[in-house]
Amino acid sequence: MINKILIANRGEIAVRILRACHELGIATVAVYSDADRNAMHVHRADQAYYIGPSAARESYLRADKILDAARKSGADAIHPGYGFLSERADFASACAAAGLAFIGPPPGAISVMGDKARARAAALAAGVPIVPGTDARAHLSDAELIAAAADVGFPLLVKAAAGGGGKGMRSAASQAELPAALAAAHSEALAAFGDGTLYLERLLPNARHIEVQILADMEGNVIHLGERECSIQRRHQKLLEEAPSPFVGDDEELRQRMGALACKVASAVGYANAGTVEFLMDEDRNLFFLEMNTRLQVEHPVTELVTGIDIVKEQIRIARGRKLSRKQSEVRMTGHAIECRINSEDPYNGFLPSIGTITTSILPTGPGVRVDTGVYAGYTVSPYYDSLLTKLICYGESRGEALLRMRRALEDYRLIGVKTTIPFHQKLLDSHRFMAGKFTTRFLDEDFHVADKPPTNPRIAAILATLVAHQQGQQTAHIQQHNVRDTSNWKWVGRWERMHR
């Protein structure tokens, strides 16, 4: 029985999982680091346990502390969310050893899919084509990788064997660019996963990144919930996802074929629970297996909105040993959903992360808008974890309606205190190529710039800035009246300094 779940995560996904538990009447246990005492997941859980300093390595990545909190709290299951310990087979095994249900796949399936080489072998064995590349298990040195590159073919990607989420990944268009790409990927992989092992993979021209959500129960039943379009990536980081893919469109045969391939891969490794099979699709709609994410995906809400299935509740249901709630024939995609990742990054300054205290948060709401967030006005964004603040998800009867609704929602959102990617998404949604659905994984890096289009209303901006400057000048004068002693040039100097700081 599962009556109390410990959520070994933080941020929006911890809050998302808490909500599913509350709705199922399951008690919840949060864990938190120093930086997260006032995080929303701590406030919203029934219980909360401190697990260490802010650095993830000393808290959210510490399996021992999390298992200790589970024991103290009397939890009987652990949901790992995404990132952190979610794809660590040893953690899944340790949960089982401690008598805790791990809400995710069996350790064996995590192991296979966590090793890119074994994953590719498993996909091949299941009859799914793979992208040409080197064997990640071989632990090739930089020199060996450089030697193997010609066989793989350019352009290519340098990828981390232990990787995921675009971290430790770099592209190289030619032999000349390879050494720098290897160096950058190596250091990022080491920092992100504690493992700098790299491999190479051919970069398909004009490819789409499309993934399939699957659900599998412990009796071996596997179904798919259709695809998600994830080609909108900046340096291999997804920024916007949709379901269905505008590229697949109403090609139901392709959708079902892709879904069946995903189910086959999952079955081949004895998969259970929710998972995602990622594909590249070339211009001729040929499919290549990329990898399988053995966990809940950031972008799972778009699938929830078009299928009406609550994936987190299904995960818990499966972990309880129940059969899937639906047969494949009962899964239907209706309408269209889009997710924008609102990160604390400055899109006008190279997506540099931004930290600070959120002073205002007026959420976009109303029909067809879903917000998954872990932040609120008064919350301080720290530099310790990833920059995802909020997922804004919009549903529409058609892709057009979903897009227009998302534009409205982005304009309604007021998030002040840190810089965010909201303006980036507003610009993206105005781009004709995006609107037309004509983009590949290279679109953001090659063909789109947030400051491309001239802004539409410079006169209003000039008036607004002048009114604020005038008001602040007045305020300075006003303050000065109360400080009669040091008069003379104070106001002037103050303004001059403000001008130049």
Partner: protein, 166 residues
């Protein structure tokens, strides 16, 4: 008070006549201008139009975020204008050095420039790891690198001086 305001290559003469009236390039408008929730979020009603914008001042000028567009606006009042015309301010401002400070706490991954090295606008100055990402800090203008205060492997606090560009 009269202001000369520039944005995106356009220049406007704006006069604040009263709390409720302004003149823009000779044309008079009724305005109703308020801050929202005591935040740098402002609501402007002008000539029937309703405009909400986030406005803050930074090193480059007034940053106005309005309906997804970001504008960098410079506002000069009469005295500043006069001083600028005399050459005092402009020269000084142009000659000032640029200080690269850490935008957030983090770990310095690499500093691919050397003391005295000339750089172009957009050249990479330093890579800082924070929030699980490697962030490339680039030169905002051409200049010469001086006073490097950071080295690879070093943890830095927010606002720590990393290097100067003269």
């Amino acid at each position: 008070m009269k202001y000369t305001t520039s944005v995106n290559g356009n220049t406007y003469q704006i006069e604040i006549n009263s709390a409720h009236q302004i003149t823009v390039d000779g044309e008079i408008f009724a305005v109703d201008f308020e801050s929202v929730s005591h935040q740098p979020l402002y609501s402007l009603l002008l000539d029937g139009g309703s405009h909400e914008a986030y406005i803050e001042y930074d090193a480059e000028g007034w940053q106005v975020l309005h309906r997804g567009d970001r504008y960098t606006v410079s506002v000069a009042d009469e005295r500043m204008q006069r001083l600028a015309q005399l050459g005092g301010l402009q020269a000084d401002a142009a000659g000032r050095e640029f200080l690269l400070k850490a935008p957030m706490p983090g770990l310095v991954v690499s500093v691919p420039v050397a003391d005295g090295q000339p750089v172009e606008k957009g050249d990479l100055l330093l890579v800082l790891e924070s929030m699980k990402m490697q962030n490339e800090l680039r030169a905002p203008r051409a200049g010469t690198v001086q006073r490097i205060r950071a080295q690879a492997g070093q943890s830095v606090e927010q606002h720590a001086l990393l290097l100067a560009l003269v």
